[in-house]
């Protein structure tokens, strides 16, 4: 009979973690400036409607590799450095650059680049942590940087050194920052509301002066100079192509502030939105929270009648950002995975059950996030490399839970939590590349094929990884511990075999569906494109394992080693082929990913070598005969 503790501890543990998760859904209330509300304003960026909150988080991820800003990074965590939320940071970049330009926003890791820019090293007294620098610290050396950047831009991305990559990256980050600085107002205008007012008042006089100047007639020099100054500023704003902040108005679609301001002299009245943002900018610069909040409310009320849908979508996305389902699921997967591994050693059923309950919770959160994303995007689950990582983790977790349901030996639980954790970590790093809900390019803009081909192929990846992970468990437990008894070994081999069958089905169907898609969109069923070939290799490899097994050429341990090699084959297809930089699918090139891929492949080869060592060296096989 189970004791009370054994019976109730798993649900209680799950309940505690669920409370922890729900506790994070509500952001802390704004004390002074309503930055949280500000973050819910809809704008258009990357071709889609996003809340300013997403714009802020994605920009900070790109520039600083974190979703928040530490304004005092030289302080230790015990000294409570000031943490600035993404929206507060963005509000200041866009409308109060004097403050934002002092914040250490830019993350720099390359020592050569740091010395090129003559930036201070780590020194607490000088308020430098040696990694994060402000716009104002970087810009004094901008000429030297521009020279280097010009040289680097001519080098193909694949041939750049680490330093040159750092230069190119900083260039992208500075450009993004400059775009944001010029999204609401010309960067560095201290009193924007007053300047805007002056500009509007002088439009008739300015236009008259400009017309007279062009016609070669006498004109008012002072008016002409001031007016030309405004126009130049606005032209610069729009030339940077910042996000489109102004909502549709009558016949006009979403527009950039700069473009709208340039239209004003042509007789188009200045949008109410420009005034509302200007009021917010003025209040923020003057440190008047009440005025800021009032101007924000005004602007929101003007949006309500026409932009109801955009506002609802923006709010929904802010909630999603706040929920951080994948990050939270990741934390719970780690906990669950550790519990499951401990359960192998003391064979505690309670620990195993705790782990399964926690994985179920994480899986529910993972699923919620996945579905929420699909609804936000209006797309099937996999649209890019980032979402493929999320989906592989989800599929592997589901398979792991099913295995655990049948075998109840803690193995499925470790697979579920292990792959769940690893894939979400990968997704977390892929998110550093920018907006993860980017729009689909013309040829990919078809939900039917995304829902069939891409999902099937991704399930194929997920299941091949599950088989490989099971095989790793076999080797590690068999070699290093005595816990791999004959029954567990047989059960593992049977699981691997079943999963390989499943993987063959999905990778085959997925690959051929891809061919049919290609036939539909450019008349070529098979084009030997690297990504196609990668998927084909997975199919061939899985088919090869099955035939080797059927022919009795491999047995239990051979199957295990083949399944581990499946990990290499799948990671090659998932990431490796993208790094060749050729073909139709070469979309997700990431520098850092290459290093990790090599490490992964080497580690898997090491495990295979381990798996091939004679049985007498295996701890588990000393006890029994293999």
């Amino acid at each position: 009979m189970k004791t009370f503790f054994q019976k109730w501890s798993p649900p209680v543990l799950m309940f505690v973690m669920a409370l922890w998760f729900f506790g994070q859904l509500q952001p802390p209330p704004d004390k002074t400036f309503a930055f949280t509300e500000f973050g819910k304003l809809p704008v258009t960026a990357n071709g889609r409607i996003v809340p300013l909150d997403s714009l802020a988080r994605n920009a900070l991820l790109e520039i600083r590799e974190k979703q928040t800003l530490n304004a005092e990074p030289w302080k230790g965590w015990t000294e409570k450095p000031r943490i600035v939320s993404a929206t507060e940071w963005l509000a200041n970049v866009m409308m109060n650059a004097a403050v934002a330009d002092e914040w250490p926003t830019f993350r720099l890791d390359n020592p050569d680049l740091i010395s090129l820019l003559k930036l201070p090293e780590k020194d607490e007294a000088k308020h430098s942590d040696g990694k994060h620098y402000s716009w104002n610290q970087i810009t004094p050396a901008i000429d030297a940087f521009e020279r280097e950047n010009e040289r680097v831009q001519k080098i193909e991305a694949a041939n750049r050194t680490a330093y040159e990559n750092a230069v190119a990256k900083l260039h992208e980050r500075l450009t993004l920052y400059a775009q944001l600085k010029n999204a609401v107002q010309p960067a560095g205008m201290p009193d924007w509301p007053a300047e805007l007012d002056a500009f509007e008042k002088m439009i008739p006089a300015g236009v008259a002066a400009a017309k007279a100047q062009q016609a070669g007639q006498p004109f008012d020099q002072a008016n002409f100079t001031t007016f030309a100054g405004f126009i130049q500023n606005f032209q610069y704003m729009s030339s940077l192509e910042p996000p489109l902040l102004l909502p549709p108005n009558g016949t006009r679609d979403w527009r950039r502030m700069g473009d709208a301001l340039l239209e004003a002299p042509r007789g188009t009245p200045v949008d109410a939105g420009i005034h509302d943002y200007a009021k917010m900018a003025g209040a923020l610069a003057a440190n008047q929270p009440d005025d800021f909040n009032a101007a924000l409310k005004d602007y929101q009320s003007t949006l309500v009648p026409t932009q109801t849908k955009a506002m609802a979508k923006a709010r929904a996305e802010v909630f999603f950002n706040q929920m951080e389902p994948f990050y939270n699921a990741m934390v719970i997967y780690v906990l669950a995975g550790l519990l499951a591994i401990f359960s192998w050693f003391n064979l505690s059923e309670t620990l195993r059950r705790c782990s399964v309950w926690l994985i179920s919770l994480a899986f529910v959160i993972h699923t919620t996030g996945l579905i929420y994303r699909m609804v936000l995007e209006g797309r099937p689950p996999v649209t890019n490399l980032y979402s493929s990582a999320i989906f592989i983790g989800w599929g592997a977790c589901l398979l792991g839970l099913i295995l655990e349901k049948f075998y109840k030996n803690g193995i499925g639980a470790v697979v579920a939590s292990g792959i769940g954790f690893i894939t979400l970590i990968i997704a977390h790093h892929l998110a550093l590349e920018g907006d993860t809900m980017e729009m689909m390019r013309a040829v990919l803009d078809t939900n039917f094929w995304l829902a069939t081909h891409v999902v099937a192929v991704t399930v194929g990846y997920a299941s091949t990884f599950v088989a490989g992970f099971l095989a790793l468990i076999y080797t590690l437990r068999g070699f290093f511990t005595r816990t791999l008894d004959a029954d567990t070994g047989k059960a593992l081999a049977r699981m691997i075999y079943g999963i390989v069958c499943f993987a063959t089905l999905f990778s085959f169907v997925g690959t051929v569906l891809g061919g049919i898609w290609a036939d539909q969109s450019w008349g070529r069923f098979w084009g030997w494109d690297p990504k196609e070939n990668g998927a084909l290799i997975i199919v061939l490899w899985n088919a090869l394992i099955l035939h080797l097994r059927w022919g009795g050429i491999i047995r239990e341990r051979g199957l295990v080693n083949c399944a581990i090699f499946g990990n290499i084959v799948t990671s090659w297809s998932w990431f490796g082929v993208n790094m060749l930089g050729i073909g139709l699918h070469s979309y997700g090139f990431t520098e850092a990913a290459f290093k990790w891929l090599v490490l992964f492949v080497v580690s898997q080869l090491a495990f295979i070598a381990l798996g091939m060592l004679p049985a007498k060296w295996w701890k588990s096989f000393k006890v029994r005969t293999a």
Binding site: F406, F508, V512, F525, P530, L580, I582
Partner: protein
Amino acid sequence: MLIKKTVAFFSSLKLTVTLLAFAIVLVFVGTIAQADEGLYGAQAHYFKQWLVVGANFFGHKIPILLPGGYLLGTLLLVNLVCAHIYRFQFTTKKLGIQLAHAGVIVLLVGQLSTDMLSREMQMHFAEGETRNYSESATDYELIFINGDELTAIPNRLLKAGDELKIDSLPFAIRVKSFWKNSDANFRAPMMKNEAPLTTNGVAVNFNFRPLPDVKTMDERNVPTAVFELVAPSGSLGTWAASDWAGDASLVEAMRNSYAQQLGMGMAQKIAGQLVAPQAVEVGGKKFAFTMRPTRVKHNFSLTLLKATHTTYPGTDIPKDFRSRVHIDNPQSGEKRDVEISMNHPLRYGGYTYYQYQMDAGQTVQQAGRRPTSVLSVVRNPSWLTPYIGCAMVGLGLVVQFMYHLVGFVSKRK
């Protein structure tokens, strides 16, 4: 005895396993080599090949002997068919597996026949232009026109040093050089140039240089041939004929690039000199000649009415490529408009027209160019086989999988 042994060999599982292993190696090597050899080059070297000798691996040449794609495909097919005949059993236990393997046979046969029978071409046109032919993207022809009579010499016959005698032409063609891919540059009169290739025709004003073959699918080779025409009465001179002059879209591209440096007026003049007709006269007959992509005539015509390229608001991310086309078929009396876009091809008259490339949208408008569209034109009689094969394998594997799963679950219960 020997027959039995042969059959046993060809239907053996060991052969299957060996072939699959070789296939994996071949596909891997053939993928890596694309970085060095390009997609077309790698296809020809590894996949559309019986035996692969030597390979490129991350910029290094490695001595390796591999069975090529054709050989592996054929052997796998033989292996599958033999195994099917030799070991066929009609039992529920094996039903799924049998179906899946039959599906693989359909796929392999389909791909081999596609490889032999399918033809890929392109149709380039600007808005308002009408085409009743498609052009090859890889093959070219040197054509001679005398009135209504056209003689086309495919590029594979143009080998440096060869002399070609063709019945319909009153002269022989001595090929001096043939460059599969070449570059053309205007010989600016003010600058000191090296001596021209020849002192006749287009070569007076343009320098042609050989270039390495293109590597990606989106680029194409632009061939140039230099040859001497020899009539019985004597030489008619050495001439250059280049696809640079024969292909309207290339002429336009060259004009546009010169327009940026020298202004449109000058660029028009240069383009005019590039396309200036070249001809020789023999016995009172005039033979005009040029190099152009190989053409296939259709008995209907397509007119590009409108090419649209839309992007997502505020970005350069392409949202949609779309060509509105008018079909005019004098035989059936059909006159109608259709839209061709990404993922929505037009299947007509045994050909399929896919949206391939496009030069349209705001930037084109601003630059004052005419919007153009390129359709990929494919004729593939076996296009249905992958659909059937995939359905068979998918169904077969599902049947087999469910059979095992049901057995597994009921056993545990």
